[in-house]
Symmetry: C2
Subunit: 105 residues, 2 copies
DNA sequence: TTCGATTTTCGATGAATAACGAACATAATA
DNA sequence: TATTATGTTCGTTATTCATCGAAAATCGAA
């Protein structure tokens, strides 16, 4: 049961976070997780195959935005609360704008 | 005196804006322009050559973030105020965080 | 231990990106 | 008109990125 690597958020730069959010698939993932409910990979309905989804999850994880916890054959994904300490209000602001301008998948 | 093309901001997506801001050089350009003073290209002190700077300015312009006005042999750059209508508070929020976490070039 | 479910990793590919120097375009000025 | 100043465009290179399918890894259950 190897848990994936989560970088310390203090080492993460703003440009990396913005870059991670600058993709529609990833923004959709983050928007889905914003309700606080942990979800497994399979719970996302996105127009990409599994391996591509896995790639996007890795990008989000290495940008300090999401956390993955392995549990059996599944992984549970959540937003990382520490991101709020590092960049207060950023995620909420972006998600609010995303919800207004696109129908939030 | 050909003026460069500025896309209508209504056609610009959030992911494109975030993508444009997800580069240190471009974020620095935007931060410099945030005081409202128009500046020419040469007014930026950045670790890139002219042509690369021109490239980054084009990316920012096509993302609806900055406007260029040609005047003689120079161009004057400003932030586009309409961006605030499309994505209220976004630029200010990002710049505030950028100012806290990096010494703002 | 064998099978099925879930996710990651690998390898490949095509597109996009950042960077540079050189050449070009344009406008003000000598 | 020739020169200078300022930016842009072009061609190139190297890197990164998004995507896919196939294979591998991991774990639970039969």
């Amino acid at each position: 049961m190897k848990q994936p690597h989560h970088p310390p958020i203090d080492g993460i730069g703003l440009t990396e976070v913005l870059g991670a959010l600058s993709d529609p698939v990833r923004l959709s993932i983050v928007a889905t997780l914003a309700d606080g409910e942990p979800r497994s990979c399979g719970a996302f309905e996105l127009p990409v195959v599994k391996s591509t989804l896995s790639h996007h999850l890795k990008v989000l994880r290495e940008a300090g935005i999401i956390a993955s916890r392995m549990d059996g054959t599944r992984c549970f994904l959540t937003l990382r609360p520490e991101l709020e300490d590092r960049f207060p209000g950023l995620l909420a602001h972006v998600l609010r704008l995303a919800g207004q301008t696109s129908p939030a998948a």
